[in-house]
C-alpha cells in the first residue's frame, strides 16, 4: 500500500470513527448518571434524522432545522427515560435493558409506518465536491462531521464543568446517594442526562445522514460499533471514545482495503474481545473501588 492510499483510507476511516464516537458518547452520558444505557439509541439517531429530513422537505432552512432536530432528539430521550428507564431504576431492577430495546423497536416500526422503508437522500447546503488536502480527498460533509462532533462534545463537557446544573450532573455521576443528601435531585439529573443523550443522537443523525442516507435501518450497523467503542474506551472515559472511535474507523477501512471488504467488521470485534480480556473497565476507564 502506498502512502497516499494509506492516508486516504485512514482519513476516511477516521471520519466514520468520529460518528461512532459521538453515538458512544450518548451511551456514556446516561451511564454516568444512572448506570443505565439506552439500547434504543440507534433508533433515536434514525428518527431524529427522519424528523430533520421532514423539516427540510417542508422548506425549513438547514440552519434552522438543526436546533429543531436537537430539541426533538432531547424530547425523545426524555420519553425513553420516562417510559423505559425511570420505573426500572426506582425498583433497582435491570428492566431498562428490555424496556429500552422495546422502545427502540417501537420507534423503528413507527418510522417504517410514517416514512416507509426506503432510503432517502439528505440534502445539505454544502457542495459535494471533494477538497484536496495534502493528496487526500475529503468532502465537506466529512469535515462537518468532525466539526459537529467536537462542537457538541465540547459544549456538553463545558456545561458539565462550568454550570451549576452541570456540577449537579457530575455529582450524581460520582455518587448518587451523597448527591441526593446534598439536595440534588437524582431523578432530575438522570432526566437531564437522557435529554442530552437524545440531543447527541440527533446531532449524530443530522451529521451522518448526508453520508449514509436516511432509512429505518441506517443506524443498525452504526450502533453496534458505537457500543463497541463505548465499551472498549470505558463507559466513563469522556473524550476516550474519540480516540477509540477514530482508531476503530481507521482499522476498519485499512482492513477492508488490505484484506478485502468482507473483513471490514473483523478487527473491531477482535479489538472488543482483546479490550474486555485485558482491561474490562475500558482502555480509558477508571477502575472503581467498590466498598460493600
Amino acid at each position: 500500500m502506498t502512502l497516499p492510499i494509506f492516508a486516504q483510507m485512514a482519513v476516511s476511516g477516521a471520519f466514520m470513527g468520529l460518528v461512532y464516537a459521538l453515538i458512544a458518547y450518548g451511551f456514556q452520558l446516561t451511564y454516568a448518571t444512572s448506570k443505565s444505557i439506552n439500547f434504543g439509541q440507534g433508533e433515536l439517531v434514525m428518527v431524529s434524522a427522519f424528523f430533520s429530513l421532514t423539516l427540510l422537505n417542508l422548506g425549513v432552512p438547514y440552519w434552522a432545522m438543526i436546533p429543531c432536530g436537537l430539541v426533538f432528539g432531547a424530547a425523545m430521550g426524555l420519553v425513553i427515560e420516562r417510559t423505559a428507564v425511570r420505573l426500572a431504576l426506582e425498583q433497582k431492577s435491570e428492566g431498562w435493558i428490555l424496556l429500552s430495546i422495546i422502545g427502540g423497536l417501537f420507534l423503528f416500526s413507527t418510522a417504517e409506518n410514517i416514512w416507509g422503508r426506503d432510503d432517502h437522500p439528505f440534502p445539505t447546503p454544502m457542495s459535494t465536491d471533494p477538497i484536496h488536502v495534502l493528496g487526500v480527498d475529503v468532502t465537506r460533509n466529512e469535515i462537518a462531521v468532525a466539526v459537529g462532533v467536537f462542537a457538541i462534545m465540547g459544549l456538553i463537557e463545558l456545561f458539565k464543568r462550568r454550570t451549576l446544573l452541570g456540577k449537579a450532573f457530575e455529582a450524581v455521576s460520582a455518587d448518587r446517594d451523597a448527591a441526593e443528601l446534598m439536595g440534588i435531585s437524582a431523578t432530575r439529573t438522570v432526566m437531564l442526562s437522557y435529554g442530552l443523550s437524545g440531543a447527541v443522537a440527533a446531532v449524530a443523525g443530522i451529521l451522518v445522514s448526508p453520508i449514509t442516507t436516511v432509512g429505518p435501518t441506517m443506524a443498525s450497523a452504526l450502533i453496534l460499533k458505537a457500543f463497541s467503542v463505548a465499551v472498549v474506551a470505558g463507559l466513563d472515559s469522556g473524550f476516550g471514545v474519540v480516540v477509540i472511535g477514530m482508531m476503530l474507523g481507521i482499522l476498519e477501512s485499512l482492513s477492508s482495503f488490505q484484506l478485502g471488504s468482507g473483513w471490514r467488521e473483523a478487527p473491531g470485534l477482535v479489538l472488543l474481545i482483546l479490550a474486555l480480556a485485558l482491561r474490562p473497565t475500558g482502555v480509558f476507564g477508571k477502575t472503581a473501588i467498590r466498598k460493600v
Binding site: 426506503d118 437522500p121 459535494t128 471533494p130 449514509t212 468482507g262
Partner: protein, 421 residues
C-alpha cells in the same frame, strides 16, 4: 397511501364478481431497496389490468372475464419469496404469476411453481441464473417464462460500451447477492467472448447496506481502472457513485439496468450523471402508445416520474401478453395458458414493442425459448439530471420502428447468443 387505496379499490371492484375471473398473482418487493422496481412493475401491471377490465375483460367463450389480482410483497428476501411461492402454488384456481424482481427470489421460489406447472412470467428480474437453472438441470418442460432483458444481453451491451469508448483497463464491481455475482460472471464471460480487449484490473465486492465504498474504489483507482463496470441495486450503486465523486474519479459507471432506479438517481444526484445502462424502456413519449402509457401512469399513481420506467413498462406488456394467451387458450387453466404463451398466434401491441411470437416451446438446451427479449428491444440509457435519456439517438429511432411493428420479426431461435460476440 393513495396508491394502496387505489389498488385496494381496484381489487375490491373485481372481487365483487369472483365468478368468471382470471386470477393473476403479482409478486415482488414493494418495500425496501428494490421497491422502485417491484412497485413500478406492480403499478404498470395494474394499469394494464385496469385497461383490460375497463373493456369488460378477456373474451373467453361467450363470456368476458375480468382479471383479479393477488398481490404479495416478498421484500426482496429469498426466504419470503419461497414462502409466497408455496402459498400461491397451493391455490387451485390461480391462472398465473407475474413478477419477481430479485434473482435470488426466483432461485428460491420458482421451483414451487414449476413443480405444479403454474405459468409464471418473471418480470423484471434479469439475473441469468433464473432461467439457466432450468436449462442446466436439463428440465424437459418448464412453465417459467421471462419478460426482461436478461443479463446475457445486458452484460454484452455493457462490455460493448466499454470497448467502444476505447477503454482497456476496467474494474468489475458487484454486490454479494445472487444477482451481483451472476452479473460479474456474465461480464467476465462477455469480456472473453468479445476478444479479451478489456483487462480487469480489479474485482471488488460490496454488501447490501454498505454505505462506504472507499476501500473498493481506491483499489480500482490505484489499479488504473478507466471505467467501473458494476452490477448491484439502487442504494449501493448510489454509494459507489458518491464515493467516486469523493475520490475525484472521473471513470464512467457502466452497468446493469438497475442504474436507472430512482433510488440510484436520487441518492447519487449529480454524481450519477453520465452513467450508462441497458434499458428496455425510456420515459420519453417517443410513440403515441408510450405517451399514453406514461401519462396514464403519472395520473393514476400521482407521480411526476416513474420510479423504475423499465419495470413499469415490462409489467404492463407482460399483462397484455398473458391476456393474449388466455384469449388464445380460451381457458383460465394455467397449463393451457402456458401452451398458448409458447405459441402466441397474434402479435401483441405493447408499449415497448409489438410482440410477435415472443416465446416458443421449451428447449432444454436453449433457455432462450422462454426469453422474450432480444438485443433489438434493448437500448443504452444514460442518466442526465435526474432522468434516464437515450444514450444514442439511433436507438430511439429503432425503438419507434419496433413499437410500430415495422421491424418486429419472429425471434424464435435465439440469435441473441451469437449476436453477443
Amino acid at each position: 397511501m393513495k396508491r394502496i387505496l387505489f389498488s385496494t379499490l381496484l381489487m375490491g371492484a373485481v372481487v365483487l364478481q369472483a365468478d368468471g375471473t382470471v386470477k393473476i398473482a403479482l409478486t415482488g418487493p414493494f418495500t425496501g431497496g428494490s421497491a422502485p422496481m417491484g412497485a413500478s412493475m406492480r403499478d404498470g401491471a395494474t394499469l394494464a389490468i385496469a385497461e383490460i377490465n375497463a373493456t369488460g375483460g378477456i373474451q373467453v367463450g361467450n363470456q368476458k372475464m375480468k382479471i383479479q389480482t393477488i398481490e404479495r410483497d416478498d421484500e426482496a428476501k429469498n426466504e419470503r419469496g419461497a414462502l409466497i411461492a408455496q402459498e400461491l402454488a397451493a391455490m387451485g384456481d390461480l391462472s398465473g404469476v407475474i413478477g419477481t424482481v430479485n434473482t435470488g427470489v426466483c432461485l428460491s421460489g420458482d421451483k414451487h411453481f414449476q413443480a405444479k406447472g403454474i405459468t409464471k412470467i418473471i418480470c423484471p428480474a434479469a439475473g441469468s441464473a433464473s432461467m439457466t437453472q432450468w436449462s442446466k438441470a436439463g428440465v424437459k418442460d418448464v412453465s417459467i417464462f421471462r419478460f426482461a432483458a436478461h443479463d446475457g444481453i445486458q452484460s454484452a451491451m455493457v462490455i460493448e460500451a466499454a470497448i467502444n469508448r476505447n477503454f482497456t483497463k476496467v474494474a468489475v464491481v458487484f454486490d454479494s447477492t445472487n444477482y451481483g455475482v451472476s452479473g460479474r460472471d456474465d461480464m467476465l464471460d462477455q469480456i472473453r467472448k468479445q476478444g479479451n480487449k478489456l483487462q480487469v484490473v480489479a474485482q471488488e465486492k460490496f454488501n447490501i447496506g454498505d454505505k462506504d465504498m472507499t476501500a473498493q474504489l481506491l483499489r480500482a483507482k490505484s489499479a488504473g481502472a478507466q471505467a467501473i463496470l458494476i452490477w448491484g441495486i439502487g442504494p449501493e450503486l448510489a454509494a459507489v457513485a458518491n464515493g467516486m465523486a469523493k475520490l475525484g474519479m472521473n471513470a464512467p459507471l457502466i452497468g446493469g439496468w438497475t442504474l436507472s432506479m430512482s433510488n440510484f438517481i436520487d441518492n447519487a444526484g449529480k454524481n450519477g450523471n453520465g452513467t450508462l445502462m441497458p434499458q428496455t424502456f425510456i420515459e420519453e413519449p417517443f410513440t403515441a402508445k408510450a405517451k399514453s402509457f406514461i401519462e396514464g401512469y403519472h395520473k393514476t399513481f400521482k407521480v411526476e416520474r416513474i420510479p423504475s420506467p423499465v419495470s413499469a413498462a415490462q409489467g404492463y406488456d407482460a399483462v397484455y401478453l398473458f391476456a393474449a394467451a388466455v384469449r388464445q387458450a380460451q381457458s383460465t387453466d394455467t397449463h393451457k395458458i402456458k401452451e398458448a404463451l409458447e405459441n402466441l398466434k397474434e402479435p401483441v401491441k405493447g408499449v415497448i414493442a409489438t410482440w410477435v411470437h415472443p416465446f416458443s416451446s421449451w428447449d432444454p438446451a436453449d433457455e432462450q425459448t422462454h426469453e422474450a427479449f432480444r438485443r433489438e428491444q434493448t437500448v443504452m440509457g444514460m442518466v442526465k439530471d435526474g432522468r434516464v435519456i437515450f444514450a444514442n439517438a439511433a436507438d430511439k429511432d429503432r425503438l419507434i420502428k419496433a413499437a410500430l411493428g415495422a421491424t418486429a420479426k419472429a425471434p424464435t431461435k435465439a440469435p441473441a447468443k451469437s449476436k453477443k460476440s
